[in-house]
Symmetry: C2
DNA sequence: GGACACGTTGCGCCCAGTGCAACGGCTGCC
DNA sequence: GGCAGCCGTTGCACTGGGCGCAACGTGTCC
């Protein structure tokens, strides 16, 4: 829409690929270096980019604080926190909370496993749309047309031999998830990790978040994990109830 | 520098205070609502703001992914990670890594305590400049003039009864930190939490990061914490050595 | 059903963002 | 040690794009 801001945001995103000199940054977005400099200066004044001693630009600290505030403004997170903690306390496994937004599924909260083997993930990480249990739960709630649209636009990387590889297979899986009310990831993203996930619903019944338990196969085989689904459903229902009871301010 | 980008970033930052309608957002930065709309649309196209079903704008998911990439581009973090993990494994307490950038101290890595009582902190959180041990370590390395400048521009909130309250007291504390090579926070930020922190140095000997151990007083009194300083110093030295050995690409 | 509130759009003005070119400091090469 | 090349910076003139205004449309509340 507004050219100047657009360019500034493109240049900011381009810095995600790594630090860049003024001229590199200008070339990346195809503008004159003096233009790039003015944009970068403005971004720097606001702390969104940082200038290293070697004059190169990289992403700045303001992104951290804003990202943190963004997390806090997602209020399902606040409501869910104590319930997730209780679940984590009870079962001892890694617990995740994820939301869907504009075609992406993002982990917005995480509680670590008590077991020594931990999985790699981080708040802010994007979940694999075609493999993770949380993504299946969130995608399954989209309107049928939108679901098909999303499925057909996706790529289907072979994370493991069990990964879903076609839109049809994904849509079929999502239909099943809708039916049974929970989703599973059997080593579809990481060879050694299984997950189960369930939906958290808002006041209007729409799915607003997904909550999952993840375990390395060495700690808990898939059968053990399946037996945790009732606990997980209880947690999700508690969150849904508490969240739905609140009036949106 | 560039007015349009400046306004866009101000409006983005203003959303950190909470979601806003178009008109609210326009008022916050004092522009016509049509102007605000064009800015917000551009931000939305890039995922930096998100439009809720009720038409209000809030911070968007792109901030998460960019913040995460920003973290990864801080390479001291990569070097330090295994050393911090080893330290955390050995002592069992909460371990933090923090950096100084443009007048702010930010936690860029964290390992949780094994003990049930945990402290509130999060990657991306900004550390209290006048109270936290990591901030003391990082500020202590600034050139004398800059240190005085920063100290005099700061506010000195009374987080607890032990919090430092004047620029003079802070400067004196920083001088001591310089001398002894490590810093302590004795319930200066949270009544029930103590910390010790040490510097990690770059190839030129300047402090590039700080590493700390934090414990609730109920788990480890200040004396116990002090006895962990040698371990902490060993860790920091190992990181400094490994980091300094690398050539900056 | 009228009045209001709020998001949206078309328009014309003019200022602010743009590209150019010249400058200056730094590096390294002969 | 001087010259050449590189790269960040700055001043300037042009014009295109961002701006505020006002009219429109839609949904909501008395």
């Amino acid at each position: 829409m507004t050219q100047t801001v657009d360019r500034a945001l493109v240049i900011l995103a381009s810095l995600a690929e790594g630090p860049a000199s003024l001229e590199q940054a200008a070339n990346r977005i195809g503008v004159h270096k003096s233009t790039a400099m003015r944009l970068l200066r403005t971004l720097e004044e606001h702390g969104f980019v940082h200038r290293q001693p070697d004059y190169r630009y990289r992403l700045g600290g303001r992104l951290f604080s804003l990202a943190q505030l963004a997390l806090e403004s997602i209020d399902v997170r606040v409501v869910a926190a104590p319930h997730l903690a209780a679940l984590n306390e009870r079962c001892g496994h890694t617990v995740h909370l994820a939301v869907y937004e504009d075609g992406e599924v993002t982990y917005v909260d995480k509680l670590e496993s008590r077991y020594p083997v931990r999985m790699y993930s981080r708040i802010g990480k994007r979940a694999a749309l075609t493999a993770s249990a949380v993504a299946k739960v969130l995608l399954a709630d989209l309107p049928e047309a939108r679901r098909r649209e999303v499925a057909e636009a996706l790529e289907f990387p072979a994370y493991t031999v069990r990964s879903i590889r076609t839109p049809e297979a994904l849509l079929e899986e999502l239909a099943q998830v809708r039916d049974q009310g929970w989703a599973v990831d059997r080593s579809e993203y990481e060879e050694t990790v299984n997950c189960v996930a369930v939906p958290i619903r808002g006041i209007d019944g729409r799915v607003i978040a997904a909550c999952s338990i993840s375990t390395p196969t060495v700690v808990a085989p898939i059968g053990t994990l399946r037996r945790l689904v009732p606990q997980l459903l209880d947690t999700a229902e508690a969150v849904s109830l508490e969240y739905g009871g609140r009036t949106r301010s």
